[in-house]
Symmetry: D3
């Protein structure tokens, strides 16, 4: 048990961090087990609210593979993948959109409201927030984000709401497309001029040895990350994260952080302490 | 085929209606078969956009019984009702929220975007827009709206977005409740100071003889509508509509309109022509 | 007699036109017999109000030759012209200003007010709105507009007033000059960034054969109009209209429309229907 | 010739007056010979501009009997009066409006512009600024102001324009009525919350002996002025001035000043010096 | 040494406090030894900055007895007191103002700037911020604050500056008066609608036994504090603090806190922890 | 004694000057005997207020050598100079800051308040308004202004306050430095885009013969002033004034005026009359 003076001294030490980040925008990609465990979810959301209250504009982006899988299972629809991507026929897309925009998104919004914040849940179809192109016939309703219409995010954050965005996009015909949430978060971070993109995952950041969970690389430059991708060293699930990170860095985001959402207060450790956890990527 | 001069003369005749309604807010409850037929949906949405463009602030509210039933069926969940209300256990509530917030809502938003408007889809859980209390243990997750937090609607309409709201509410624990869409629309109309509440249905308004689809009552006072409810003359599906209408009139809404959404351009006929269709209810 | 559904469908068809023109500015040069016939005047003004209400900023510009001639006649002053321009000695100028700023202008303002709009009448001497240089000694107080001080128009339209401007300008000594109303309208359209300049006349637009009222040219490019002027094919009264149109097109106005103000709802036909009437001029 | 130091000391002495009046609104009724002599007119306008520049919002109101008479004469129309009021048939009203709105008003506007200010000329028909009722059939188009729609004045002064208003009003049918300029000025002063109403006349204020131009009463209370009216002691031309003054005082105007516009810098003497000239009326 | 997770958890626990106080105004009376020890001063200022950054508007008020005594000593002026108040002849007042407005105030401002904040130093003579009446002839230039002109504080805080106010007031002749800093802080807290008034002292709050530094009363109601004053139990230096506290509570301030400024992070402990230190006074 | 008409005519003649200067910013360096004589001080302040009221934004800058010397004397500290600059050890700096920020500054602020204006006193340490570098070890705490953070001046003037700035700056460690007031005024004038820098002195401007008080040079170009400095013709006290003037002219200030503050209404004579007094410097 910490005494009040030690307690207060820790608050005191947050001053330079708050001074440095105040007025900036952070895009937080929320995912992995932190979405399944209610206690972890509550913790992440409270961390986001604290960032918001000290003057950092936060935008939450999420996907929800397990939620989708659960509903596909209940509906007796088979899950198919191709090169690690979900093959999404129209019937699957209907379930994807429902599970993300109708379930996962509203659960996160409710969590923010419960913690005393104000949130609006958005799909990429709302106000054409995320515009995408279909990747291929084979993958079906899977898309790449090609444009972000950020006006609705600006309106929401200016009015004090935390936007919670799910990874469903719109195509030119205003039909839904399934997009990767890491990529969507990176595209949003680029378009709103975020200073940080924080990816919450189930691993301890980027690993030098993908079989060793403790081999976290704490700092990674753009060139090094590009090297990992080019050399094929990156794990399949890591590819869209690294590509999103590279794109974000190229578009002016100062740093991309990949941290383990399962660690309590992971966001606060990363933002407000000297230690940091996981991997921080910067341009150089 | 109408010649250009007759055409222009009709536009010309819209002037006094636009002058009268400009700057007011209309809440449009969208429902019935107009939600199932894509062509009718497109027509209603275009009508709403036209109202919006001539300076009437529009808020769309919708439910989606058929969509819910479809998914319950696919999931093998039995539909149960009690006195005409859907008995909603937690498993059913999950499907209700998904079907409304994740499907019907986004389909309507996409339709507005396709027609060239800007829309944001909202659930009653977003920003605690609709707060409700559970009605009874027997009915399960079914609630009555007790409060409307309209700030998010104001922010959206001020920024030029058309809010599209589905009939899911939040309870004190931020859990989802299933609420009647007619009642939700009435509660919203009251809280935003709307001048008109327009209920799109599958019938030609309030009927004097519920078995005669042509027995539409074109004008109905608050007292007369109260009488219909008290005398038990009102059809079961009509009860929440009439109660919502009475509540809205008591809260300052000028008139409540019940019109057949299956009639092409029903909204424009009701708002912009001398004829009107369906039933108009006023305080006296 | 048109039934309500056909009626509403016509309103419905106005949607894409309103979406296209909303937020733009139209300068309407009002003239010809539409100014003498009270019924036509009322019709034009109601059309302008409708444009205004659907979000198009309208500025009315007018001259008033017949009104001037009437008063010259009553005062026993002879009307003199030189190459089709009114020779304007000081005594004539006094009558011109009175007839335009004191009669025609106020009659138009009153008509807007009667139709439920808000209008301010302005002379080019108000706030130095129209600055002109005298053309020649022989023509007397006749000028060419050299500068438009549009601030007062912006203040008026921003506050929801429709400006009604008569074709009297100020010279460097703040003395009144008589200017051509078509030219004044073109100068104003250029300076306020109007998208359309609409000239209401007594003919059916530009005629390919000036003796055949039915030989209207429906589309005319800048080059073709220049050709008509250079070849001397243009009617004397048509010259300032065509020159104003060319100037407006060169200054960024998207299109110039010359239409017959005597046709009921001419403005609405031109703006809101596929048909159009009269002549539309564009850059290419 | 005054030396620079005496000169500067006089400016210095203006400080407390400016501090007292800054932010207030003055309505100046401009009339009498100050309107006929160009040199006097220039002087008055420069005085008004100076008031405006030190932070006093000024509104100019004017009539123009001599200008009207001139044009009636030229047109061979007979001038008729009844109890000191101009009998105004429609033909006369046309001339009244032309002479006021088209001549006198624009001449004053031009004078403000020449002196480096920004002015907008307004008739009471613009934006329904002055609404009046016809007094009687016998007097024809003569009215009493019953309502002032001051919005256009607020818009103009907020944007830095000096409004110049002529004494023509609108009736319920938006037809022009001839109104007394002193009464119009009083009505405007009341409706805009002016602190001072200043009437420029040809006499040295209110006289105790109407045959002695030097018998100026320097201070007059509301009760005393009422007494003069009731006792029939007031000159015919003085009646509307005194009645306007009484109405203005009753409506919250702090003081009404009646001063000789023929005295150079009369406005500055009255506002900025200890001496004052003419008559000042206050509630008590 | 605390590990990063414990560290972050403590930040996490600040959330409800920030949510509760955000948008409120705190007036902090800075005094005692915390003003003499540079290290303590730096600590207090950093605490104030942290409050400011999480959205609490802070206003600092200070006196400076020791600084004054130092300069009186250097100048060979004798310090005289009467009933615990400094007898302030004009020569002493000159030194008081210099020492407070010219030394202590600017040292505090510099400390805020050094910590990365923005501060403006103000005397009660700036913009007539503190208006006071002289208490008695005997005490000389000593006053009681009778009015606070808070506009300058609002302008400063709205622009993001932290106002630092010293306890010098102005009298009706705009001459300086020496006022008690605790009273000045209470008057300011009342006039700006502060929710908390925090008095930093050299003792551990209000003591039940004035000779026992550890007999701190942690909670005190208005009635109890009034009782201490009436019973004469309060220490002389405590009297203006308690009277200021009572006045502040009566004027709508929610709570008054008396804490030991010598304890590191005393402000943060009091505001952000469950423990609190010193004495908190509330209405009941 | 001047009669009211001559009086008013002089006010009338101020019109073109007010029109020319309205909306501009003047920086007035206040110094010399005008600071010692209470009557002169009152006069200068009233002149500044008048400038302010006619729409000229005024910023007052002052030093206070005599005040400093008085307190050094009282404290028994020796005054040392080196090449005309005050050698300022830390003990002296403490006195400089107290005398300027705590005495002279507050006296001026009080004078503005007494005259009915609103003033805020500022040191260069407030909001880091004046940032300086130490000149040399020998001179001690003497600095050259290297940066002006003008935000606080903008906030103050926008809110209607007259800023009164004393010549104390901050260094990188937020310690006080003594700076020349003429140079500080020039730096401020440059950074706020002032049109005039007016230096009040004890002489009649720049003299062609420094021993002849009547040899005032009324106009001086930048080149001529540079010549005076280069040729060593300038008096020691004149050097920083001329250098400040040159810097100001190079930075966009239109004109620099050096006038005798001992002449009653010197500011008004210089700004509002044809005569002017003292020396006016312009770029060419």
């Amino acid at each position: 048990m910490i005494d009040p003076q030690a307690h207060a001294e820790i608050l005191n030490q947050a001053l330079p961090y708050i001074q440095a980040f105040r007025g900036q925008t952070f895009v937080v990609k929320y995912g992995g087990s932190a979405m399944k465990d209610p206690h972890l979810m509550e913790g992440v959301i409270r961390n986001v609210l604290l960032l918001d209250l000290v003057g950092i504009r936060c935008i939450l982006v999420h996907g929800g593979g397990p939620e989708i899988d659960t509903w596909l299972g209940k509906l007796g629809l088979e899950k198919k993948t191709l090169n690690g991507l979900r093959v999404t026929d129209q019937a699957t897309m209907d379930v994807v959109e429902m599970a993300l925009a109708g379930r996962a998104n509203k659960a996160l919004v409710a969590e923010v409201q419960k913690a005393g914040g104000k949130a609006i849940g958005l799909s990429g179809r709302d106000a054409d927030l995320l515009v995408a192109d279909q990747i291929s016939e084979e993958l079906g309703r899977v898309g790449n984000v090609t444009k972000v219409n950020a006006e609705v995010l600006m309106v929401a954050t200016s009015a004090g709401f935390i936007p919670v965005v799910c990874s469903v996009a719109t195509d030119a015909k205003k039909q839904a497309l399934n997009v990767n949430a890491d990529s969507a978060a990176a595209a949003i971070a680029s378009s709103v001029g975020a200073s940080k993109l924080i990816l919450l995952t189930d691993t301890n950041g980027v690993l030098s040895d993908k079989d060793d969970a403790h081999s976290t690389i704490s700092q990674l430059t753009h060139a090094e990350a590009r090297g990992m991708l080019d050399s094929g060293k990156a794990d399949r699930g890591m590819i869209p994260k690294l590509e999103g990170a590279l794109f974000a860095l190229e578009s002016g985001v100062d740093s991309v952080h990949m941290i383990n959402g399962g660690v309590p207060n992971a966001l606060l450790i990363e933002v407000f302490t000297h230690s940091g956890i996981g991997t921080m990527m910067t341009r150089s």
